[in-house]
């Protein structure tokens, strides 16, 4: 596209680029509408009575378009704002076009979500007479976005903090309110939170609290000062913080009600499995897409050994069955791993994917129906501890604590392994396995160990899951379980323990808690993976050295080489 630059006293503007960005913004906006994110998310208000989550999505895309357009121009000044506004208005035009076309022709024959409800949202209820609104809003928001991009970094930081805080607070407002209503904080809760979303006061409070807090932290340089303190003094500061965090984590299921308790039990389980895969993928670099196979082994083992229904073979207590779940999963890991681990990286991914699918199909097949229950699966799997319903350990809570305890243990194991001879060997394999081998590392054995340990923890997760749900069917063994765990490790940060926790909380917790996210979950995962690989492949909370390594170029005779090297096995 021809780039036309306009000379002006304020600098040059490349209109071509701005227009292209506007086009991209338009595509994103229309996409959001037509895929259904806007109408579905519209049902959840961010700030009650003011703006919904769906509208926020469009707002953000307009802001982003303006921001990018202003960025693309050479300098700041009013011309940049003009470019930003133009770009934003292009997005608006696209939406208006959508409304106009959609009102004339029923687009629902093709696009399910192109409904009158959508058009109402876009025109703020004004119908066709309001079709100018998207254009105006687009221009306005685009200009604001441009403004933000031109503003000093010092001002930008509180703005972005405020934005994130508002989003998170708005999401969790309903939950927090429900939890606080039974406490003395009830009045505060009603002031800040509506039953879904924030109140206006709540929104203001959030912005002040978080943006202000962040600025405070920044200007007092708190983080660095704590790090520079001598160890004894640092402990005095950090231990109470850790203690508070620990108390909060332990009290969580009680405080937040049974639905949330169920969700955080699942989150804890995924943290557990994420930490397990962190060894296989995060440390050793083995992209295992068939993690769910070992999850299944663990789940079925516990099911078969503890179930009181027809397929249960033993009726053992949970605690007796779990070690077997782990051991069998490890054994499966060895069996599946031995032949497959000599295969090169990307083929390994597909092969493990194949394994996962094979196990799923076999588990539900008629062939194995007499042992595994076929599609009906195994039911009546008891909880680990038998308690009366009022007890604080009843229901999902005990799973939460068990999963939490196991996660802590696994985190410890992972931490120890990382600093050991094995950990170094795994990291070297992940970095450059050919060179690692040339230094004397036995690739297959070392990889096998990583694979088996990952499998063991997957089995543990599966066993606990079976107990949580009370049953296990072949349809629980889906590829998405593997993808969930892989996404957690990758988005959170490969090899990073806090990364795995963060990943699980956001990638599992949020979709489970909020129905709208559930529907579009994998769409977000997909986008997250693509964006992360493009902009931050080391993950959100990377390990110390990770940031550099993933950005290295692979131009040399490296692990990518397909050479007729001596066969590693077989």
């Amino acid at each position: 596209m021809v780039v036309r630059m306009t000379e002006s006293p304020f600098g040059q503007v490349s209109w071509g680029k701005a227009l292209r960005i506007g086009g991209a913004g338009a595509a994103v906006a229309v996409f959001l509408c037509v895929v259904g994110i806007v109408p579905v998310f519209h049902e959840r208000p961010l700030i009650t009575g003011i703006i919904s989550l769906g509208q926020t999505a469009l707002l953000l895309s307009a802001l982003g378009t303006g921001y990018a357009a202003a960025r693309a121009t050479a300098q700041g000044g009013p011309l940049a704002l003009l470019a930003a506004a133009s770009a934003g208005s292009i997005a608006g035009v696209a939406l208006t076009a959508l409304v106009l076309i959609g009102s004339a022709v029923d687009l629902r024959a093709v696009f399910l979500h192109a409904s009158p409800q959508l058009y109402e949202i876009l025109t703020f209820g004004q119908g066709l007479t309001g079709s100018w609104i998207p254009i105006a809003l687009g221009a306005l928001l685009g200009a604001v976005g441009g403004l933000v991009s031109n503003v000093r970094v010092d001002l930008r930081r509180p703005l972005t903090t405020a934005l994130f805080a508002l989003l998170l607070a708005g999401l969790f407002a309903g939950i927090l309110r429900a939890a606080m209503l039974t406490t003395p904080l009830a009045d505060l809760a009603r002031l800040l939170f509506a039953s879904v979303g924030l109140t206006v006061i709540g929104a203001i409070a959030t912005v002040v609290l978080f943006a202000g807090g962040r600025e405070l932290l920044y200007y007092t340089n708190l983080r660095q000062r704590v790090q520079e303190m001598p160890p004894a003094q640092r402990r005095v500061v950090t231990w109470p913080a850790i203690l508070v965090a620990a108390v909060v984590i332990l009290v969580l299921p009680q405080a937040l009600g049974s639905f949330v308790a169920q969700v955080i039990a699942v989150v804890a389980l995924y943290v557990l499995m994420g930490l397990g895969l962190n060894i296989t993928l995060g440390l050793a670099g083995l992209l295992d897409l068939g993690f769910v196979a070992f999850f299944a082994v663990g789940a079925y083992t516990v099911g078969l050994l503890t179930s009181t229904a027809e397929f249960g073979i033993a009726q053992w207590p949970f605690w007796a069955a779990i070690p077997f779940a782990v051991i069998f999963a490890m054994l499966f890991g060895a069996i599946l791993g031995l032949p497959i681990l000599g295969v090169r990286g990307d083929y390994l991914a597909i092969a493990t994917l194949g394994f996962g699918e094979i196990i799923r199909l076999l588990a539900g097949s008629d062939l194995l129906k007499i042992w595994l229950g076929g599609p009906r699966g195994i039911i009546n799997i008891p909880k680990p501890i038998d308690v009366p319903p009022d007890h604080f350990l009843a229901g999902p809570n005990q799973i939460y604590y068990i999963a939490l305890a196991c996660a802590v243990v696994i985190a410890f194991v992972a931490w120890r392994l990382r600093g050991s001879r094995l950990g170094r060997a795994w990291l070297s394999i992940r970095e450059d396995e050919d060179v690692a081998q040339a230094l004397g590392v036995n690739l297959v054995q070392t990889k096998l160990l990583a694979y088996m340990l990952g499998a063991a923890f997957a089995g543990l997760g599966g066993g606990i899951f079976a107990s949580l749900v009370g049953s296990i069917f072949a349809s629980s063994i889906q590829l998405f379980v593997s993808i969930n765990v892989v996404a957690i490790v990758i988005v959170g940060g490969m090899g990073s323990i806090p990364g795995a926790v963060l990943g699980a909380v956001f990638l599992i917790g949020v979709p489970e808690l909020f129905r709208e996210f559930t529907e579009y979950r994998f769409l977000f995962y997909g986008a997250a993976l693509i964006l992360m690989m493009r902009y931050r492949p080391e993950g959100i909370l990377p390990t110390k050295f990770a940031a550099r390594e993933v950005h290295l170029e692979s131009g040399e005779l490296g692990a990518d080489t397909v050479v007729a090297a001596p066969a590693e096995s077989g």
Binding site: R416, S420, A425, L427, V435, A438, L439, R548, L557, P566
Partner: protein, 276 residues
Amino acid sequence: MAQLVAKGVTKRFGGLVAVYGLDLEIEPRSIVSVIGPNGAGKTTLFNCIAGWYRIDEGELVFEGTPIDMLRRDQIARLGIARTYQNIRLFAGMSAIENVLVGQHHFLSAGWVGAVLRTPGVREEEEKAHEEARRILRYVGLQGNEEGQASNLPYGDQRRLEIARALTTQPRLLLLDEPTAGMNPAETQKMTTFIRRLRDELGITILLIEHEMRVVMGISERIAVLDYGEKIAEGSPSEIQSNPRVIEAYLGRGAAAAGQSARVEADATQNHAEAQA
């Protein structure tokens, strides 16, 4: 008794013959250089010796053991180590961690031991760290151990790679263009260092080099490759006056003194990888 014997070694890539009928004998504790124009097959030869390629014909015997069917880690354990033309450090690990990997097969801590940190394991780790620090001191990299490997200056990275190779306690060390990218002062330091490796540690050195001053200054024997075949072998003075060698180099427009060969090497280094 030759330490490394190559007889009739041939390596093909599809239609391309990278190395053909190569005979070479390397005496223990000697310093031998392999030189030749770009595309001559030098790195291919290294790759064959170190177990990165399987040779198509011929035999390779190291200290009496045939190595042409062995895996890379088996070859490492026999006592052959190497460095790489383009530095291949573990960039995301610290300097000392890079070196510690070289000790992997001398240590025995398993995963259980690692998790439990038994006294035995702790002692082993301490000794390993001691040894790693010692080697880093030997190559002149003390004090920089915890830093990320990719943050080191270029010359230090080359030393680190050598340190890492030394950790495997090799008896034969393959150095692939160790002075690439260095200025004359650094080159001189590296040359002295290589000699120390042989003199103090008794390691046999096999060297690929383009910098003729290094080659002529340090080698006891030189083997010259061209188009995958050995066209000459002998002492530095014999090679310098060998007409075939001069023709091979001059035929590519490079002077035997090595200056232009250097420039040419740099310019087409990546491109020549396919053939070297």
